[in-house]
C-alpha cells in the first residue's frame, strides 16, 4: 500500500476562488492510501515545495499528488522537488484543478466536487505508480536549419559562433529568402540587400556552416539529440566545384520566357539562372522544365559557352543522410494567393499589384530597374491607392483571421518612399486600423502622414474597376466621414496577408511538430517557450511560428540558436522512462506491436521462458527503450495486454476511469 500525500494549491485566488480547497483536503483524506493532505497558497513557490519535501520526509510518503495547475506547467517542478526529497520523481501525479476546473467553472459546489474527483483519479493512479528510472541517450553535436532566409541564416550563424556544426537546407538555389526581395526596410529605410548580403557571405564563409541550397528535407527519423535526416540535393545540372559564377551561360541561354520567381513573375528569366545577382552560392541551376536541352534534347548552348566546363546535364538528385542533435525550422512565409479576391481586380489588371511586387518594382535590380511605373504601359503612375488588410483580419474563410503585422509599416514605408522620390504622385491608403507598436514605428507612420502628406482613409475598398482608359476606379468608404469615396487611380497596391510557407505542413509532419489551424508551428508554450516546438529537439525561428518583422525575426533566430546551443552543449540526455514494456510470459510474439510502432523500437528475440508448468523457447517482443517514445500504440495492438506503457499502464488508466465514474 502506498503512503500518499495530497497537496492542494490555492494558486492565490486562481483556484481558491472557485474551489473550496479546504473541503478538497478534507475529502481526499478519506481516499485509500492517503496519509497526508494539506493546502497552501502557492505550492509551486519555494515555501510550498518545502512543505511537500517536509511531508515526504516526515510522513515517509511513497507517492505524491499535487492538485494544482496543468501538469504541462509544473509537473517537472514537483517531480524535481520529490527527487530532491528522496522520492522517485515518477511517483508524483498532478490533478489539474485550475485549467480543467477552477478557471472554467463558476459554481463553487460543482467546481469543488469536480476537483475532488480529479484528485481521486490522480490518487487512484498513484496507488499503482512504480518508481521509474530515466535512461540516457547521446547527443549528436550538429544542428540542422531548414530554410535559408534571414531567420535561418541568423540561427546558423549564432550556433556556429558557439562552435557547433550547422547545416542549412534551402529549397531555392540561393540563401537569402524574402528579405533579399525587399528594397528598403522600415523604419530606418536602410537598404535590405546592404544589410543582408554580408550575413549571407558570412554564412557561406563560416567553416562550421554547410549550405545545402536547391535542396529539401526528405525524411526525418529519430528523436531529440539523435535525429537522422535525409536531404535531397536536387540536380543543379551545374558542377558547383567548377563553376566560376561568370554568368555567361545565363546571358547566352536561348530560353528566356520563364517567369522570374524572384521578381514575383513581373519579368522573365533564362532557363539557366541564379535568382539574383548576389546569390549565394553564385552558381546557377538549370530549370529543367524550361530548358530546351532537357525538353527537346537539342540546344546545349550553356555547355558550349561555359569555359569552366561546369555544365552537367547528367547530374542526378542526390540523397544525403546526416545525423543531427537539433533541428530548427525557419521556413518563413509567402503572400496568400489572391484568386478569391476578385473585387480587387488583381488578376484582371497588371496595375493592381501586391506590396511585394512593388518592392521589386522599387528595387534597382528589379524588373523596372527601380523606376516606378505601371506594368501595363510603363508609364509613371499619378495616383496610387494602397489597400490594407487584404486577407488579414478576415472574418470569412477567404482570408486569415490574424493580423499580418508588417503591412501597416511597409505601406507607410512605400508611401513615404514614393512621395519622397515622386512628390507629384498622390498616395492614398485605405486602412482598417493603423497598427504601429514598435520602436520608432508610430513616429515613422506620423512622418508619412504629416511630412509626406499621404492620404490615409479609414475604411475599406469594396471594388476596384479597371476603366477602358487604363485607369482603375477604386470604390471605397470613408468611415470617419461616413461617405462613399471614388478614386481614379492608375496603380493599386494590395497589402496581401502573409501565410506560412505551404511546405511547412509536410515538414511539420516529418518532424512530428504540431501546427495550428493557420499552419503556423505551435510553440511549446506561447509565452514561456516561444522558440521551442512541443516536440523535443525541434526549434522555431522566424515567421513559421507567427507573423513578425525583421528585427523580431532576428531576435527569435538568436533565441532559437541559444536553445540549440544549450542542447548541443550536453553530452547525454535523460530519456523519458515512460516507455513500453513487454511481459514475456504473456507475449504471443505475434508482431502486432512492432507493426504499429512508428520508431521501430520493437524487435523479437527467442527467449527461454520459465513459469510453473512452462519451460520453453518463445519468440517474445523486446522494446528498445532508447527508441521508444511512449505513444502507446503497441499497447492497444497487443490483444493479450502483454505490452504495457510505464507511467500510463493499463491498470493505471482503468483506475482513473473507475475513480472518475465512481
Amino acid at each position: 500500500m502506498q503512503r500518499i500525500g495530497v497537496f492542494v494549491c490555492h494558486c492565490g485566488s486562481n483556484i481558491a476562488a472557485t474551489v473550496d480547497v479546504k473541503k478538497v483536503v478534507e475529502l481526499v483524506r478519506m481516499e485509500p492510501g492517503v496519509v497526508w493532505a494539506e493546502d497552501y497558497p502557492y505550492m509551486c513557490s519555494e515555501a510550498g515545495q518545502s512543505r511537500i519535501a517536509e511531508a515526504i520526509r516526515t510522513q515517509k510518503l511513497t507517492g505524491v499528488v499535487v492538485c494544482s495547475c496543468s501538469p504541462r506547467m509544473h509537473e517537472a517542478t514537483f517531480r524535481k522537488c520529490a527527487e530532491r526529497s528522496g522520492l522517485n520523481p515518477y511517483m508524483v501525479e498532478i490533478a489539474n484543478i485550475r485549467e480543467h476546473c477552477s478557471w472554467i467553472h463558476k459554481n463553487t459546489e460543482e467546481a469543488t466536487e469536480k476537483a475532488v474527483i480529479l484528485a481521486r483519479a490522480a490518487i487512484a493512479k498513484v496507488n499503482l505508480n512504480t518508481p521509474l528510472q530515466a535512461g540516457e541517450s547521446r547527443v549528436t553535436k550538429r544542428a540542422l536549419v531548414i530554410g535559408g532566409g534571414i531567420a535561418g541564416i541568423q540561427t546558423a550563424l549564432d550556433i556556429a559562433d558557439a562552435g557547433y556544426e550547422v547545416d542549412i537546407v534551402e529549397k531555392t538555389p540561393s540563401i537569402g529568402g524574402r528579405m533579399s526581395q525587399l528594397d528598403k526596410t522600415f523604419p530606418t529605410l536602410d537598404c535590405s540587400a546592404c544589410i543582408l548580403t554580408p550575413k549571407m557571405v558570412e554564412a557561406s564563409a563560416n567553416e562550421k556552416i554547410t549550405l545545402y541550397t536547391y535542396s529539401e528535407v526528405e525524411k526525418v527519423s529519430g528523436f531529440v539529440g539523435d535525429f537522422t535526416v535525409d536531404i535531397r540535393k536536387k540536380a543543379r545540372s551545374v558542377d558547383m566545384s567548377k563553376c566560376t559564377g561568370c554568368g555567361v551561360c545565363q546571358e547566352k541561354c536561348p530560353s528566356r520566357k520563364t517567369p522570374n520567381e524572384f521578381n514575383r513573375g513581373l519579368n522573365t528569366r533564362s532557363a539557366i539562372y541564379t535568382p539574383f545577382a548576389q546569390a549565394i552560392p553564385n552558381v546557377p541551376v538549370i530549370d529543367r522544365e524550361h530548358c530546351i536541352k532537357f525538353q527537346t534534347g537539342k540546344c546545349g548552348v550553356c555547355a558550349k559557352v561555359c569555359q569552366a566546363g561546369a555544365i552537367d546535364y547528367e547530374q542526378k538528385d542526390e540523397i544525403i543522410t546526416r545525423k543531427y542533435g537539433a533541428i530548427v525550422v525557419a521556413t518563413g512565409f509567402d503572400m496568400i494567393k489572391l484568386d478569391k479576391y476578385g473585387e480587387y481586380a488583381y488578376e484582371q489588371s497588371p496595375d493592381v499589384i501586391t506590396s511585394l511586387e512593388l518592392e521589386r518594382i522599387m528595387n534597382a535590380a528589379g524588373p523596372t530597374k527601380g523606376h516606378l511605373e505601371r506594368m501595363s504601359d510603363h508609364r509613371p503612375p499619378k495616383n496610387i491607392v494602397f489597400i490594407q488588410c487584404v486577407g488579414s483580419r478576415c472574418a470569412d474563410e477567404r482570408g486569415k483571421s490574424y493580423c499580418s503585422k508588417i503591412c501597416c509599416m511597409y505601406t507607410a514605408k512605400h508611401a513615404m518612399l514614393i512621395r519622397d522620390k515622386y512628390p507629384d504622385v498622390n498616395v492614398t491608403v485605405f486602412y482598417i486600423d493603423v497598427r504601429t507598436p514598435g520602436k520608432n514605428f508610430d513616429e515613422f507612420y506620423r512622418r508619412a502622414v504629416e511630412e509626406y502628406h499621404v492620404n490615409y482613409i479609414k475604411g475599406q475598398v469594396g471594388k476596384v474597376t479597371p476603366q477602358p482608359d487604363g485607369t482603375l476606379l477604386v470604390h471605397g468608404v470613408d468611415l470617419l466621414d461616413n461617405h462613399q469615396v471614388k478614386i481614379e487611380a492608375d496603380m493599386v497596391v494590395l497589402a496581401a496577408a502573409i501565410e506560412p510557407n505551404p511546405d511547412v505542413r509536410k515538414i511539420a509532419t516529418m518532424l512530428t511538430a504540431s501546427i495550428d489551424t493557420n499552419n503556423f508551428l505551435t510553440e511549446a508554450h506561447p509565452k514561456l517557450r516561444p522558440v521551442e516546438s512541443p516536440t523535443a529537439g525541434i526549434f522555431l525561428s522566424g515567421v513559421c511560428q507567427g507573423p513578425k518583422d525583421i528585427p523580431e525575426t532576428v531576435s527569435q533566430a538568436g533565441a532559437a540558436a541559444v536553445k540549440v546551443i544549450g542542447l548541443l552543449a550536453k553530452d547525454k540526455l535523460l530519456t523519458n522512462p515512460c516507455t513500453a514494456k513487454a511481459d514475456v510470459l504473456a507475449c504471443n510474439g505475434c508482431s502486432a506491436c512492432a507493426n504499429v510502432c512508428p520508431y521501430g523500437a520493437i524487435s523479437y528475440e527467442d527467449q527461454e521462458v520459465r513459469a510453473p508448468g512452462v519451460r520453453e523457447i518463445r519468440r517474445v517482443a523486446v522494446v528498445n527503450s532508447a527508441l521508444c517514445q511512449g505513444c502507446g500504440a503497441c499497447t492497444v495492438a497487443c490483444p493479450s495486454g502483454a505490452m504495457d506503457l510505464q507511467g500510463f499502464s493499463n491498470r493505471q488508466m482503468i483506475a482513473e476511469v473507475d475513480a472518475i465514474c465512481r
Binding site: 510470459l585 510474439g589 505475434c590 495492438a637 493479450s640 482503468i654
Partner: protein, 323 residues
Amino acid sequence: MQELRKRAGELLADGTVARVLAWRAGDLPYNPEPAFFETEAELEHLVYDGFCGANLSKLMIEASKLEGKTLVCLKPCDTYSFNQLVKEHRVDREKAYIIGVGCRGKLDIEKIRRQGIRGIEAVEGAELDGPEELTIRTFSGEKKCAYRDAMLERCHVCKGKEHMAYDELLGESRDTKDAERFAEVEAIERMPAKERFAYFQKELSKCIRCNACRNACPACSCRKCVFDSTKFDSEQKANVDSFEEKMFHIIRAFHVAGRCTDCGECSRVCPQGIPLHLFNRKFIKDINTFYGEYQAGTGSDEKAPLTNYTLEDAEPSVVRERG
C-alpha cells in the same frame, strides 16, 4: 477416408511425419474428436466425414513445439486460420505437413435435431463422397434429411473450395455457398437501434461465459487472455451482470478484428447457439467498407487492417452520420 488413412500411414511409415493430426471416430454417429495418431495401427480409428467440423489449425500451436513434423488435415476454410497463425508466428509452417482434405460442407447436429429428428442411433451419408441426403436411424424409425439442410451456417457462406496452404490435396471439394455472407449482418443493421439492442440482449443473455468460443477460436491464440489476467483489472469468470458478457464479446471480436478469417468455429461450438460469428462478420464488413476488401489468412504479406492506415481513412463520426 480409406485413402486418407493409407496416405497418413505411408507418411508415418517413411518418417516424413512423426504424428498425424486428424479426427478419431466417436462413440456416437456424430461426435468424432480431434486426435493425434502416432502409429499406423491407431489410424484405423481415423475418420473423416461431415461431422469433422473442428478446425484443427489451432492445435498446431502445440504441435509446432513437438519433435518432427505433424501431418495435419485441413479443410479449405481451416487453411485460412492456419496461414494467419503462421503469419503471427504462432505456428511453424516447417513443422506442418498439410493434407488439404476435400470438403462438401460440414454438418450441424443441432440442425438435424431442430427438424424433429431425435434419438439418433446412426447417420448414413455423411462421408465426403456420400449422397445428397442423409439417412438417419432413430429410436422412432428412419428419417431423411437433405445434406444441405444440415450444414453449419458457415458452409452456406463458404469462402471457396480452394486450400490456401497445403503440401498435398486429397478428395474433391464442393461449392456450398448459397447465401450472401453479409446478409444476416445487413438485416440486423436495418433494424432500429432499439430492436438491435433487444436482439443482442436476448442472444447474449444466454451466454454462460464458458469460453468455448474463445478457446476454439484460432485467432484467440493468446497465451494468456486478458479476461484471464489482471492486466486490465479485467479478470472475469462469469457474466455477473448484463454488461460483462457484452464487454467480453465486443473485446474478443475487437481483438480478432482484421485477424479473424470467419471460420465460424465460435458459433459452431457455442453451447447456447449464440450467433457469435455476427460480431466478427460485422467487423469484417466494416473493414471491407472502410478500408477495402480484406480477407485474413490468404497467405499474403498485406498488413492487417488494424495495424495499418491511410491518410484518407474514414473518421469515426461516420458511424453517427450514417444514422
